[in-house]
Symmetry: C2
Subunit: 448 residues, 2 copies
């Protein structure tokens, strides 16, 4: 049996790997982290292998065969987001620190803490006598860069397993102590735009007035992305958007997260967004266009009076049913080219993308998930929500493996995923483990 | 006597100092560079001292007293611009390299090459028998950051010297072989604006749709700086602008720099700017608003899907007679606050500034400068131009020391001042030295 002290130490080991998938400089850290995960499952008696399709490896781990029982796929990822802006971290992102019952580290919530809690749940069942279902883990290394090679791996895996359901803990709880089932995720589509002007940076005194300034041109260009009411102004952007249904609009009114809570969580001076929708509808059921990064010219201390040669922006669109990421990227590119100011040239690179996901929480598997959440958290009901994040792979589970996905995340609203001081409550390792076990017990009773 | 080989080696020594005034990390390089300049003048028999007023030191060097002769002040600066983007340099910026008769290094043109050519001119006269005027050098270390402490130094210096004229070689030649007298400089006013949203970077999936994106807000804000015709849209910006006079508008038509030449020099896809003015009028006689730097969110490889907590821009305005930098900064701040989008807060930091300068090239000292240029370059005439760069100190010479300034620069249009691969033709050291000597000979004949 594993005590809490051992479990915490194991968790810290996992968190210390600098498994940043976006930056090639961290490739060896990625590899070591994957090997550590393999080792952990091997120790527990699972049949484990690394699967590669040209990118960072996925760990695939099979529990013992349980004849006649359903097959449950647990998915997670061992890669993490980059750590910039590093100077805003209270302590180094890869040196886990406990404070007020929370672990602070990059990946603490997203996704190492959550996938680790599944592992703890499985191990407790193995140690207590065995698993009641056919359990398969798929822990990939490219979630934070859009899972480019996972579909290829899923296609191979499909010849071996046909899961009845997938479990994913990579979403959030609506508030501490509120069990939450996420029944929809937004999709994503990314692109990078560069505005080129003169061949090199120019002296802004000598040439200011005759050549276009790419930074100014980029600002003018990106200011056309939204209209005055906060709607995305790209022609055709909303064409295939499904409005939320009436039962959803009713349900969202009873959730304990409104303007006040979101202001407190984010520290923003005011909420903004599309008129006509509640805040949680705007994050869950409505699409957006965001700038994730912007750069041009001199950003160091003091001043450098140049007209920059180039200015760039990283954009992502969050998508909802039934927007098609490829169509949205094409419309976005069209929009940018149409609105490109004079005197500069545009370079557009389309990035990763993934579809949105929707699985009715009133379905049999949805009800089963709600039952497990109620039992473990000992609450009268479950918050069923649409979440604004994207886990493109969930659509691939449906299309390639033929199974739906239950999204029961353990991230808290102030977990700071993707941001400095990311954190995860230590007790959520325990809750997650119990939830995992409860769900497998209920799943074992499902008639196939 | 000093041969060309020795002179080149001396010049290279000067260029190797990483005298970047904007970045505190280079403070010791600044100090060493100043000491080297002191040493050079001491060797030549000048009385030299370092003068400080809380910033980087200025070198002040006095030639021997020449009774009854005018006092000529030669001004230059030993500080240089930062070197970013460093990866665009063909060779390291502080390892001077000769190629096709040009020296490539940061500061080669701006201003080490040009001030060094004066030094060479002085030394040749000293070695040939003596200087015909009272010569004073003032070589400062803060030109690239707006000369914040130089006015204090000038006020002290004024008790010792009352120059009859100042010589500054920190401007450009209109084309190779075309002697050029700059009779006007634009002023400058700098500010930095930061747009603050949420307290930290946020996950753009989870919060996209309810909080303002500071990068988007900054783009919208900066897109209001200009109207559709390319004019600055800040209310009151043009109120005190003097239109160029008729003799100037005639003269500018005969200069050998038009659209074609500017396109070739800059490599820009097209020229832009304010309607109704020729290119050289737009750079010399019309004010501008430029973004020199822009930054927000994640700019590294790959993607990081955040809503940034902050976005910043470095802005400069180039000013013409009779715009007042303090008024312009106040108007700009007003404009930015008025147009600030909802959901974000603004932080504005006003930076350095300096007035524009104008000295009639048809004046007696202007004619003398043209005469010297004609003799040294052996050309029938001199291009008299307004230059778009700013040397705020030139207004201070007038206001504090009571003298006008002759601007006879040796920078070529493709010198890449402030940009990667900055360069200076070696033969301009020689031309500059001869011009310096010729000017002093003519100045010695001026009746005071």
């Amino acid at each position: 049996m594993h005590g809490m002290a051992t479990i915490n130490e194991e968790f810290f080991e996992f968190l210390r790997f600098q498994s940043i998938s976006a930056d090639p400089a961290f490739a060896t850290h990625m590899e070591s982290c994957a090997q550590w995960v393999v080792y952990k499952f091997t120790q527990m008696g699972f049949r484990v292998r690394l699967e590669r399709a040209g990118g960072h490896p996925s760990v695939i781990a099979f529990g013992p065969r349980v004849e006649g029982a359903p097959t449950v796929l647990v998915y997670g990822h061992y890669d993490v987001q980059p750590v910039d802006p590093i100077h805003l971290w209270t302590s180094p992102p890869f040196e886990p620190r406990i404070s007020n019952g929370k672990v602070y580290a990059r990946g603490a919530t997203d996704n190492k803490g959550q996938i680790f809690s599944h592992f703890i749940g499985s191990r407790s069942m193995v140690e207590a006598g065995g698993l009641p279902v056919n359990l398969v883990y798929l822990i990939e290394g490219e979630e934070e860069i859009g899972s480019p090679t996972l579909p290829a791996i899923l296609k191979r895996l499909h010849t071996e397993i046909q899961p009845d359901i997938a479990l994913v803990s990579d979403t959030g709880m609506i508030a501490p102590g509120h069990p939450t089932l996420t029944y929809s995720l937004r999709g994503i589509a990314a692109l990078e735009v560069a505005v080129h002007g003169a061949a090199t940076d120019l002296h802004s005194g000598i040439y200011g007035g005759v050549v276009a300034n790419p930074a100014l041109a980029l600002c003018r260009l990106l200011s056309t992305l939204h209209d005055e009411s906060g709607r995305v102004a790209i022609q055709g952007f909303y064409d295939n958007v499904l409005e939320p249904e009436e039962w959803e609009r009713q349900m969202v009114r009873f959730l304990p997260i409104g303007e006040k809570e979101l202001l407190a969580i984010t520290g923003a001076p005011a909420l903004t967004g599309e008129a006509g929708y509640l805040p949680l509808e705007r994050t869950g059921a409505r699409p957006t266009a965001e700038i994730n990064g912007l750069g041009s010219g001199y950003q160091g201390p003091g001043s450098k009076t140049v007209i920059p040669a180039v200015a760039m922006a990283k954009l992502t669109f969050r998508l909802v049913p039934n927007q098609d990421p490829a169509v949205i990227l094409a419309l976005a590119e069209q929009h940018l080219r149409k609105h490109c100011p004079l005197g500069v040239s545009l370079e557009i690179n389309l990035g990763h993308s993934g579809r949105s996901y929707f699985f009715d929480p009133r379905s049999p598997w949805g009800s089963l998930a709600q039952q497990a959440l109620v039992r473990v958290f000992n609450k009268p009901g479950v918050a069923c929500i649409r979440e604004g994040g994207s886990i493109p792979i969930v659509s691939d589970f449906k299309n390639i493996l033929g199974c739906e996905t239950l999204l029961m995340g353990l991230a808290l609203p102030d977990c700071r995923a993707h941001a400095p001081d990311e954190n995860f409550p230590l007790e959520h390792i325990n809750y997650g483990g119990m939830l995992h076990a409860e769900l497998l017990r209920l799943a074992a009773q499902v008639r196939l």
